[in-house]
């Protein structure tokens, strides 16, 4: 594959932007080019956030095209399906955390939250595959619930869908997280990686 298109989706505050930058930095370290198109608005918490990551020898545009994502990495299931609908390629993978961050619209009875089963069914009809893991629990297990984004990066590395090595990605995580959280983040990466290699 000469180019890999990835969307990292989540809710403001979950660390999807950082996760996308870590993937792009790892790609550059491995000698590839990288683009990250970010969608984030105000500094507020709780909004839908999606980062488009494009890596390869020859990438120009910052955005993934319609039906162009090889992987949608979802830190939150609703944000996963939101991006799958528009961007997941036929044959693509939705790799999602199972833990919901329920939007105010649902909390106030104005909308319904989809079940993981319904999401899996929809992905299948779009020609894709779903892998769901409880990354939030794994992050807690790693010692810091805020490492959930890195659990998901470990899982992503575990799928082998990236043209970069898991070793490089892990090294980039080590270099770019706050010093006090390095150990928890490395544990998180490992737990995510193993959840795919051993469980999925």
């Amino acid at each position: 594959m000469s180019r890999t298109n990835l969307i990292i989706a989540g809710v403001g505050g979950q660390g999807s932007v950082l996760a996308s930058h870590l993937v792009a930095m790892a790609a550059i370290r491995d000698g590839l080019r990288a683009r990250v198109g970010e969608t984030f608005g105000a500094a507020m918490r709780g909004g839908a956030v999606a980062s488009h990551v494009r890596i390869g020898k020859d990438v120009h545009a910052p955005l993934v095209t319609k039906d162009g994502a090889d992987v949608v990495l979802a830190l939150e299931p609703l944000e996963g399906i939101r991006n799958v609908v528009k961007f997941l390629a036929n044959g693509g993978l939705l790799l999602t955390n199972t833990r919901a961050w329920v939007p105010t619209d649902v909390n106030t009875g104005r909308a319904e939250y989809p079940t993981i089963e319904a999401i899996k069914g929809a992905v299948e009809k779009l020609g894709g595959k779903t892998i769901a893991i409880d990354a939030t629990s794994l992050a807690q297990q790693a010692g810091n619930v805020r490492t959930m984004n890195v659990v998901m990066l470990g899982a992503l590395a575990g799928t082998g869908k990236l043209p970069i090595s898991a070793k490089t990605l892990k090294q980039i995580v080590r270099e770019n997280v706050p010093p006090k959280t390095i150990d928890a983040n490395l544990r998180a990466f490992e737990l995510g990686f193993r959840a795919i290699r051993e469980g999925g």
Binding site: R33, A42, M44, A48, A61, I81, D105, G127
Partner: protein
């Protein structure tokens, strides 16, 4: 998000990931910028944020100015003393600058002056979609338009050189998808400029820095015109303008800035590499006319791709009139591309396919599956943050307005996080009204509060016109934040006092420029580089402006805030209420926020719905019973004050 060390280090050849705004900042650092000034505005804020990080280490000046016009003047003043300066702003920021902009160009500059503007096609973060490349055309200065982050850095660096060569400011035009996107960038060496600031009133031209000085403005305008041929000559040689033309190509693409990146991908997607001629544009004004002429003579059809309004397309059509009247120009003017919104690879691929006569495959079954899957996608309305002080301010305002009388109030909004008070969330459908009388609409949540909203500082001016018209159907209010107050409200406050306007000006002071990412402002007590400085207070300035009713309240205290607003609404004159409490998000970051746990007793809930009308995302209302989402709740206690039955109470 580049590494801070990468931004300041002299490590030429190193390849790093930089956000477009960081790349622009790095370009300025490589060029030896001496003064940088800006006002925060998405998607441009990170340019100055990055420069402010680097400034103390590299020994240059970086500041958040009170507004874009002041920032522009600070940078322009520096260039008059011969040093290099940069000012950065979002699209709308340039509107504040235009007076100085259109006049400064008459005498030009001595040190290199770069104006970096981030436009926002599709209005992701803005009140409009304006294309500021036209300002460069209008002001007769060159505009550089990067296709990616590497070009953003390289062009900014070069823009200082070009500026000094032409003795004119140079505009670098970015867009959201450059500024707020990241890419791999190879760093260049840091130039050692180290110029001593000097002043010469008649440098190369009598009264160089005084547009009225003899021989006056018309002569200086004439000088400005004489620089354009030099600019045109310079741009023909730039690496960012490049013509790829072979013998028998019938179709050509002329693509400017980011448009070139989309067009490249579209060409590849359709397998048209080598089959279409390609002119990549890095300077939409002045255009590399020689290259455009060669392209127009060679092909039958030209597809113009650019982000924003058809600036390049208009010029291409004008050149075609002289060079090749038969060439067909396809773009926004021809209707092939939408004249609004942003472009992307998909849009350009579709139009290119039509233009080139390539058929794109359709998959009906997939479209049906997509439509089915879409039904699962619940909305995620953006709201104010859990425990945001603005929630209390809006709650109190609503209560006070209701108590003031059952008539049609007008609440004028402004720009900041609190502008969400006019977003009308939760996908409400609004039918246009044809009433000839004033109409009162309910405020169900804070997101229904604001009735008008346009630009920075606009509301407090509008409220005066509403009053001076003789409007009598209800209270007249304007709402603005602290940073907005300093940016643009002060002349309007003075005007209200001077011209005897009446009404309430409600200032929501969270002590930070929060929406753009928590930059400090004149009331914060610190500068862009983190130095301590005098903190100015809204009430002190209001008092000095002659305002006679001023109250300062804590918006977490709903009762007192409501009472203060109620009193202000009864005041026979221009009244100011300042609701002051530091942004909750910022306090959490500084680990200073200590809230209490909210205790929920659903047996006491009468399903009155008051708690969710507060609009806090931490309040839940499943099966019409008030509750708390513990992961989000900050324990500010406002909902416990709102709940009349004790179903929600402070722990």
């Amino acid at each position: 998000m580049g590494d801070y060390l990468d931004i300041v280090e002299n490590s030429p050849g190193k390849r790093v990931l930089l956000m477009g705004n960081e790349a622009i900042a790095r370009g300025a650092i490589e060029a030896g910028v001496c003064v940088a000034a800006s006002y925060p505005g998405t998607p441009a804020s990170e340019i100055l944020e990055t420069l402010a990080l680097a400034a103390p280490k590299l020994g240059f000046h970086a500041e958040w100015s009170t507004n874009e016009k002041v920032a522009f003047e600070v940078a322009a003043g520096a260039t008059i003393t011969g040093v290099r300066a940069l000012t950065s702003m979002k699209n709308a920021g340039l509107n504040w600058v235009m007076d100085m902009f259109m006049t400064l160009v008459y005498g030009g500059v001595r040190g290199g002056f770069v104006i970096a503007v981030a436009d926002d096609p599709d209005a992701h973060y803005s009140s409009n979609e304006q294309d500021t490349r036209f300002a460069a055309f209008y002001g007769e200065i060159p505009c550089l338009e990067p296709a990616d982050q590497q070009e953003a850095k390289n062009m900014t660096r070069y823009a200082f050189e070009l500026s000094e060569q032409l003795e004119l400011p140079v505009l670098v035009r970015s867009v959201t998808r450059i500024s707020h996107a990241s890419g791999d960038v190879e760093l260049g060496a840091l130039q050692k400029i180290g110029r001593k600031p000097v002043f010469d009133k008649h440098w190369k031209m009598p009264y160089r820095w005084n547009v009225y000085g003899p021989p006056g403005a018309v002569e200086k305008h004439s000088w400005l015109h004489s620089q354009m041929p030099l600019a045109k000559k310079a741009v023909e040689k730039l690496p960012w303008n490049r013509l790829e033309l072979k013998g028998k190509q019938r179709l050509g693409i002329i693509a400017s800035g980011l448009g070139a990146s989309y067009a490249r991908e579209a060409v590849r997607k359709l397998g048209l590499e080598g089959k279409v001629a390609f002119l990549k544009i890095g300077t939409p004004t002045p255009l590399p006319e020689g290259m455009v002429k060669r392209m127009l003579k060679a092909v039958k059809t030209v597809f113009v791709v650019e982000e924003g309004d058809p600036l390049v397309e208009l010029q291409v059509k004008a050149i075609a009139k002289d060079e090749n009247r038969d060439v067909e120009v396809v773009g926004k003017l021809s209707g092939a591309l939408a004249p609004v919104g942003e472009i992307n690879t998909d849009i350009i691929t579709n139009t290119l396919a039509k233009t080139a006569g390539v058929k794109l495959p359709e998959d009906r079954k997939r479209e049906l599956a997509r439509a089915e899957a879409s039904k699962l996608v619940a909305p995620r309305s953006s709201t104010l943050c859990a425990g945001c002080p603005h929630l209390g301010s809006y709650w109190a305002l609503k209560q006070a307005l209701r108590m003031a009388g059952g008539n049609v109030w007008i609440v004028n909004g402004d720009i900041g996080c609190y502008e969400q008070g006019g977003y009308g969330l939760f996908a409400k459908t609004v039918r246009p009204s044809l009433s000839t009388e004033s109409v009162r609409y309910p405020i169900d949540t804070p997101y229904d509060t604001l009735d008008t909203n346009y630009i920075m500082g606009g509301g407090v001016g509008l409220m005066q016109g509403e009053f001076q018209s003789g409007y009598k159907d209800g209270a007249i209010v304007a709402v603005a934040g602290d940073s907005t107050f300093f940016h643009a409200c002060i002349p309007a406050v003075i005007n209200a006092v001077y011209n005897k306007a009446k009404g309430l000006f409600f200032v929501l002071d969270n002590s930070w420029t929060a929406m753009t990412g928590h930059q400090p402002n004149p009331t914060t007590g610190e500068t862009a580089t983190g130095e301590q400085t005098k903190a100015l207070h809204v009430e002190d300035i209001a008092r000095a402006c002659g305002v006679e009713f001023i109250k300062v309240v804590d918006p977490f205290d709903l009762k007192t805030t409501t009472a203060a607003i109620g009193e202000a609404l009864k005041f026979d004159g221009f009244a100011i209420v300042v609701a002051r409490r530091t942004c909750t998000l910022q306090l959490q970051r500084q680990k200073k926020f200590v809230g209490k746990r909210i205790i929920v007793d659903q047996s006491k809930c009468t399903s009155c719905g008051l708690c969710i009308s507060l609009g806090c995302p931490a309040n839940t209302y499943k099966d019409k019973k008030g509750g708390i989402e513990p992961l989000l709740c900050n324990g500010c206690g406002m909902c416990a004050q709102v709940c009349p039955t004790g179903a929600l109470r402070m722990g």
